[in-house]
Every structure is written in C-alpha cells, then in structure tokens.
Symmetry: C2
Subunit: 267 residues, 2 copies
C-alpha cells in the first residue's frame, strides 16, 4: 500500500500519549491519524487540534459518536460533532448502539438508529462533519451495534445525502460476509465510503471479544483482496489501521507503530 | 411450546452420563434427544442405541459431522453417518469447518465444503441419513465453520435433493441476521429445515466464545418471534435446545434439564 494513504488510529497505540503519537508520526512520515474522543478530551480538544495541525497531520476520523439507543444520545453526539469540527476532521464514526430496555429487539434498535441519524445528520452537516455508520461484527449486535452488515449500514445511509451520511468499511467487521464486496461497490458508487479501516481476524477471541483484533497479516483476512477491492471501486481516501489488542498495548508504542506501518506497506 | 416437540441436546447437560440423561428424560416426559458422537462412542454406539430405543426416545440429531477442510474428513464423516444410522436418527448435523492451510480463504473453504457434501450425501442417503448444514455465527468463520448465514447454507443444500441435504436453523447463530427470516421461509418451502435449535444470546462472551450460549429467556434473542416464524412456515418437527454453557455445566444436570424444559414451555 501507498504510505501516503496510511492513517494510524490512536487506539492501535493507545499506550502513546498524544504528543508522542504525533512526534512518532512526523518521524516516520505518517500523514494521517484517527483520533478517539476520550484521550482527546483528556488532553484538551483545542490543544489536540493545535498539536496535530502544527505537525501537519490530517485527522482522518474521530471515533466515535453513536449509541443511539441510550437516553443521552443527542447531547453526547452533538458534542462529538463539535469536537470533530474542532479537530478539523470531516468524518465522525458512529458505533450505533445495541439493545436497551427501550429498544429491546433488533428491529426496534435499528429503527431508532435510523431516526437518530436523521436528526443528527443536518446538525453535523452545519459543522462540516459527515456521519459514517460503522457496521460492527454480528458478535456485537446485542451490546454495541445493531447494525451488523454493510448492507444494513447502507440502507440507513442511503436515506440521506452522501455528503451527510456514509459508511465505514472495516475488514475486521465485514470479512466473513460474502455480500460485503457487492455492498462496497454500491457504497463507492454513491460516494459513501467515508472511512476504510484495516484489522486482521485472529482466534481464539479473548473474553468480551473487544481487544483481540489482529495485527495486519497475522490472521485470517485476505487483506490484499480487500485493498484491491477498494482500489477497484476508485476509493482513494485514507486507509486507517485500528487494532484493539491487549498484546500490542502491552508493548512499546513506537515499536508497534513502526511494525504496523511496515505491515501496511507489505500488503 | 408444545412439550412433545422438545428435544434436549446432550451437550446442554453434558454432566449427565447417558443412562442418567435417558432416565431423567423418561421421568420428565421428554421424548427427544440430540446426541453427540464423542459421549456416544465412549458409551458404545450399539449400547447407546439400545438404551434410547428401549426408553422410547427419538434421537432427533447426531452432532456432528463436517470439518470438510481437514485432511481426514471423508473417513470421519462416513463413520458419523454409520453412527447416525445405528442410533436411528435421520439427521447428521454438519459443522462444516474453517480455514486451513489447504483452504486458506473463505471462497476456497466454501467451495471445498460444497464439494465434500456432494461426495458424502449419496453415501449418507444409502444409510437413511440426511445431512443438515449448520450455519455458524460469523465469529466462528475462521476456525470452525466458513458457512455463516442461512442463505449460504441453503446455497449449498439446494444443489442436492432435499431428502439428502438440508439446513439447521439455530437461533444462536442466526438471530442477528435480518435476512434469516426470508431464508427460513425459503428453507421450509423446499423441505430443508432438518433441525431447529434454540439457544439464547448472552454477553459478555467468554474467552474462545464457545461456551457462553444462554439459557432460554436470559438473553437478547426474541425466541417467541423465532418459534412463531418456524410455526408460520409449517415446520412441525422437533425443537432442540442446545446450550454450551460453563455455568450450566457446573450445576446439577437434572436441575438444568428441568429448568430448560420449563423455560421451553414458557416460550
């Protein structure tokens, strides 16, 4: 892969404080970062924005808005939009939320998510931010995200202008789905791929199944086929590497960053 | 649910030796059991067959054949067919296998699975056994079963006569999939629902994600909607409860069996 398209998601090397992440990116010629709200708020949104801007880094995404099945979704998502705009990114990633007492089954949760996105999208657009609906692997359907396939994410996104609502294509979540390639083409054809993220699939999964995303090239996913698929559709945007992995987090962050870039280039 | 349709899968109460399982079934008026190859072979196939036959129990399924991406698939699956016939069940459940060095990606594994089933099905038919392709949850796609959706399972099954190859509808594996209801109707219309199994979806998932299937009514799945869906299609066969659950296995087996029957009746 072309190094200019590489973006490192902050969670991949969450052991690195933001200034260290930024300086290592500059040293390694990395041009993009995907940021997360919690560490950014801890550092200070304005300070973080200045830090990445002065380093010449592009903020490819802010993670994450969503959890639309919770009570306080509107205030927290509006805040996320404002933070995204302040950081200079045009893309807010949405993890849409799972089942709750108010939305106890999948059809109810999915309807709620669609409705909430419809309410949030114009507000985001006013701030120059587009929403990116991320389908999460079906193993998260009950507790994190009732949107499990790219087709479902597109069905939601396509109700709105593509400048306002698109999707995230993340190999970790979609690799198993034989319908995903056609959905990727459909998403690309309407300009709705707002983020493309890579992670590999390794087993056994850890308890809670959150922090076992594999380093590129160590798992079951044919990442070359995925990047070729995105290339074929004409997608030329950033390719973000987002790994949640306890083993990687236990190691030296700069070393993990270098390894991740190297493995990205090898794809 | 009608108690006459209840079948207890042996793994749900694997702490019970086979004679105890059989005697508790008789005591509780349970008429069906789903058996597993390993404990049956340990007890002796012929002895197990005699035990369940003399107790008047119906063996609703034998679990499991499959793992078609392994080297020794043919011998082991032929043995499974012979065991199924000896036990008097007409249904061998297939867990089709994941990625292996010889079949390193999903398209290769799925092609292999289709080919192997084509080779096994006539042999099974000669023994009065039909094959039931079980789509497993996508979280098992790499290491246990590259067949992840009911649509995929049907695409395989429909290449063969329905008397030879059908599918398993298991709520644990399919509940998240908004396309599953239409696939259930399609499967029923062509007589391909060879087994219907219930388990609930609970989180957090345990490490390895194998032994966290929820007791009926304790999780996220709308089991009433699923049983109503199957009823609507005209499916009148057994409804098997198959739970792999460390917490249930740590308890008294008879108590778990009674609880499972009670919760089944409450659906």
């Amino acid at each position: 892969m072309n190094p200019d398209r590489f973006s490192i998601n902050q969670m991949t090397v969450r052991q690195l404080p933001l200034p260290d992440l930024v300086s290592h990116c500059v040293r390694l010629g990395i041009r993009g970062v995907g940021l997360w709200r919690e560490p950014v708020r801890e550092y200070g949104v304005e300070a973080a924005a200045r830090l990445v801007r002065e380093a010449g880094l592009e903020v490819t995404t802010l993670c994450r808005g969503g959890f639309f099945t919770s009570d306080d979704w509107l205030a927290s998502n509006r805040a996320a939009v404002v933070e995204a705009a302040a950081l200079g990114t045009d893309t807010l990633v949405l993890v849409s939320g799972g089942l709750t007492p108010a939305f106890p089954d999948l059809p109810a949760a999915r309807a709620r998510i669609t409705e909430a996105i419809g309410e949030l999208a114009p507000y985001a657009a006013e701030h120059g931010v587009r929403l990116a609906v991320e389908p999460l692997h079906p193993m998260y359907a009950s507790d994190r995200c009732a949107v499990s396939t790219l087709d479902q994410a597109l069905e939601i996104a396509e109700r709105f202008p593509s400048s306002q609502v698109g999707v995230v294509v993340d190999t970790y979540h979609l690799w198993w789905d034989d319908r995903a390639p056609a959905a990727v083409e459909r998403a690309a054809a309407t300009g709705r791929i707002h983020s493309f993220q890579l992670a590999d699939w390794t087993t056994p999964l850890p308890a809670g199944v959150l922090n076992g995303r594999g380093q590129l090239g160590t798992g079951a996913i044919d990442l070359r086929a995925w990047t070729a698929l995105l290339d074929k559709t004409g997608y030329t945007g950033p390719v973000e590497v987002e790994l949640f992995n306890d083993d990687l987090w236990a190691r030296d962050g700069a070393e993990v960053l270098e390894e991740t870039l190297r493995r990205f280039l090898e794809i």
